[in-house]
């Protein structure tokens, strides 16, 4: 058996096939005429502003951007962008976006979802989209709470969370969204924070350029029902020790004056240590390689995230590897069938088949 030539581009890019803009664009062009209706202080505003500012950078035609969302506060996102958009139903955006991406290679397709939408009611679609590696970009706004339904615990809420539906505290073990995505062997997995526009934008850019499913978890504050859930990452006094920065090719070192670092620890695990305590100092630190094929490395990184109240978590691109995108493969089969079998006059002969008789 010879290997199958899939005919894929040798330099896959998430935007390949999307027509380029003929003129430079600005942020205002991407702002729709709809009044934004999130609560004052919601982290969604910062993400929206960053996103509207970032889209012109892509240099693609505005009408070739399609936003698909589910249900939840974050899923209002498409209404506020002057692109094509669909505000769909709870949890189903990845499935709907899969159909759109398969049908339209000329679109840059984005899914906007939340922790309830993507990880609870829509968990199945999320993992299957990730394993298929459909060329679409998933932005998961994780506020660790149900906001639109007014404050029930979510699948990312910390154990013991007291909410309207858990007056004695939640007994659910939460998902770590990055671990889940890596478990599904997602090819691009990143985490960023709503308030760090520069980091957020850089992650969005990398996500857009990746061919296949890009999964971006965005820590997003809900000031009404779960305020300060990510305070450790925002408070100038704590954030240096809280954020484990992942920079491809750099040793993973952080904390005030870089006193902390990530080292290998036992079987396929990583741990945070005082750099000063390491025998060889910085030379003992793990140098981040987002292109590591084995997802176990990125998974080990994801386990450095606190499971309960968040005091520390890695932020950045955990994994970025190449694998053929599902929609490309699906279209390739259609093209191959058309080229090798032809369609000229074919439908009539299909209907006729090979076994006919004639009545005169």
């Amino acid at each position: 058996m010879s290997t199958v030539d899939l005919g894929l581009p040798s330099l896959p890019g998430g935007l390949q096939g999307v027509p380029a803009a003929t003129e430079p664009q600005n942020r205002k062009e991407y702002v729709s005429d709809q009044e934004v209706r999130w609560c004052p202080g919601c982290g969604d505003y910062a993400v929206l502003a960053a996103f509207q500012g970032f889209l012109p950078e892509l240099g693609i035609k505005r009408e070739n951007v399609a936003m698909v969302s589910g249900i939840g506060c974050s899923s209002r996102f498409p209404y506020y962008l002057s692109t094509y958009g669909m505000h769909s139903i709870h949890g189903r955006a990845p499935a709907i976006a899969t159909g759109l991406a398969v049908a339209r290679p000329d679109l840059s397709v984005w899914v906007v979802t939340g922790d309830g939408d993507a990880l609870s009611i829509g968990g199945n679609h999320l993992i299957h989209t990730l394993r298929r590696n459909v060329n679409l970009k998933i932005l998961l706004f994780n506020n660790r709470i149900y906001g639109l339904t007014k404050g029930q615990y979510s699948p990312t809420s910390e154990p013991g969370k007291v909410t309207k539906s858990t007056p004695m505290g939640s007994v659910d073990n939460p998902f770590n969204p990055v671990s889940l995505a890596l478990g599904a062997e997602a090819t691009f997995v990143a985490r960023t924070v709503d308030s760090d526009r520069k980091h957020l934008t850089s992650v969005l850019r990398a996500a857009a350029e990746h061919r296949g499913t890009s999964f971006v978890e965005i820590y997003q504050n809900c000031p009404i029902f779960n305020d300060n859930a990510f305070d450790a990452f925002k408070n100038p006094e704590t954030r240096d020790d809280a954020i484990i920065p992942l920079v491809h090719g750099e040793p993973i070192r952080f904390g005030i004056d870089g006193h902390l670092g990530v080292v290998r620890d036992g079987f396929a695990s990583l741990a945070v240590r005082e750099v000063a305590d390491l025998p060889n100092g910085e030379a003992d630190l793990v140098v981040h390689d987002a292109h590591t094929e084995d997802p176990a490395y990125a998974f080990a990184l994801s386990r450095l995230t606190d499971a309960g109240v968040l005091h520390r978590a890695p932020v950045g691109i955990f994994r970025s590897v190449e694998r053929p995108a599902y929609d490309d493969l699906v279209r390739q089969q259609v093209e191959t069938a058309q080229q090798t079998q032809g369609t000229g006059g074919g439908l009539q002969s299909l209907l006729t088949g090979t076994d006919t008789w004639t009545v005169n």
Partner: protein
Amino acid sequence: MNRTVTIEVKQLDRVVIRFAGDSGDGMQLTGDRFTAETASFGNDLSTLPNFPAEIRAPAGTLPGVSSFQLHFADHDILTPGDAPDVLIAMNPAALKANLADVPRGATLIVDTADFTARNLKRIGYDENPLETGELDSYHLVPLNLTGMTVESVKEFGLTRKDASRAKNMYALGLVSWLFQRPVESTILFLETKFASKPAIRDANIAAFRAGYNFGETAEEFSVRYEVKPARMATGTYRNISGNLALAYGLVAGAQRAGLPLVLGAYPITPASDVLHELSKLKRFNVTTIQAEDEIAGVGAALGAAFGGALGVTTSSGPGISLKSETIGLGVMLELPLVVCDIQRAGPSTGMPTKTEQADLLQVMFGRNGEAPLPVIAAQSPADCFAIAVEAARIAVTYRTPVMVLSDGYLANGSEPWQIPVIEDLPTVDPNFTVEPNATNDKGEPVYLPYLRDPETLARAWAIPGTAGLDHRIGGLEKEDKTGNISYDPANHDLMIRTRQAKVDGITVPPLEVDDPDGTAKVLVLGWGSTYGPIGAACRRVRKVGGKIAQAHLRHLNPFPANLGDVLKSYDKVLVPEMNLGQLAMLLRAKYLVDVVSYAQVRGMPLGAAELAGVIGNLVEETEGIDDDARHLGADAAAVTHGEALKIEPNGHLHHPEGAR
């Protein structure tokens, strides 16, 4: 070949034959081949496969029995027949499981090889029924088919087990001889199917020929039967099953609309074959997505529709339940989407391989809110093609999800199909909006996604990639014209009524009534796969002098505009259904007509004879004839079309009495 008895040829006008065996015995294949031979000979035909949901239930048990029934005739027929004239039973379980359906006087060809004490005991026979005399009222032809098969293929060096697997081809050869079927296509089929396994190929062909030659040379049979080709309308025909016809119709519908077809589907009995067939048709710009679940299947189809494709999803009742919310979104988004429900016996998992038409109310109303959508139903296997083309027309023209109803009986059954000419099929223009369709209060050109065509009320459909027409749509209530989110009470009322008016206004052909001399007082009205049994029942009633009108609905939402008038022009309307009266409920609610419901929910098609009895009785009741004096129903139930069949080992043809 030497024979001492001359072979006599008897003319028959129709025959019902049933092949039955273990689900591993290849009965469906045998039936398919006999059907292909019969189709190529030019008989009209109708088939009924019947198999267990288990892929391989334990061999030799009653739950493991699989069967295939074929009705073929020299005239136009409508059903696979109520009862077989000939049963081929490959083991004791097949005999026991099917005997109740076989009328006395019919022929039983039985493979005796497995009639051992142990096998018999396993299925509850204390003694061998072939020897006790309990089958004396049948025409029993016991043959060691397995033994003769093994003997006929011994030169190929197969194990006894492998050799005996060719017994279905031996049986097929025998009945092919008995009914004078052309055999070339089966030999060609076996050569192709087993091309990579020469020993198996040669054994199957040898067994098939040996079975045929056994009929020719052995003196078991001295009569052969001939069913002349049917006189059918001029044209070119092929045999086609409902699911295949549906798949072809979907492709034709998409092509006539100039749209790519994107199918999102999850495997489910009895709909999976539509997924299988469409996945072979990529060259016609067909994309198939085997989704992670039913919801994702319809979601992918709807996403593709948003992108400008004809979105299609195929499933059965349980899957439709899961898709309901997304279909509701399709109603709100007003995008073309074809949803095919190949119904099966429910509720819940029900009986997956058995047929039913109890999803009508689910597809009509099974969504939250006022979510109307068109519903159409195929009436025969070949009609699945036309109904799929019609679904694409309605979906694209009116920008709406369309529900297509088929069922297990249509899906797996087959019949001759006059092959349509593609150019004669209607074309549909998707009529995409490509430039602004209105001006705002500042006089600037704008695109209003919910601006409607005044005739059809279809909304303006612009697809992503169209410059200047970007817009956002979703499941939240829309403002009229702009499509912006709106909670305005008056707007909601307007939009609810507009969506309803759009569906109500879909162009539907008028209902045609078959009322030969226009004097019938009773109308039989059906929908879906009951078309065949109802038509056959009406023929029986007419044959014995009853006056009866028949009409069949292919459009269930909206109903044909003349339906109310039709209903009111008859004294009585009988509505036979394979549910507890779902269409009857709709008719009563909409037209205030007290229709008579005839409901049978047995997982099997309605029986023509039984239904004929009900119709005949109702006709006489309507005519004021007393109970005691009524005979039309009994007469109609007892009608046999022409000669019935009886195969005598000694060459005599009998006419069995009584009902079949």
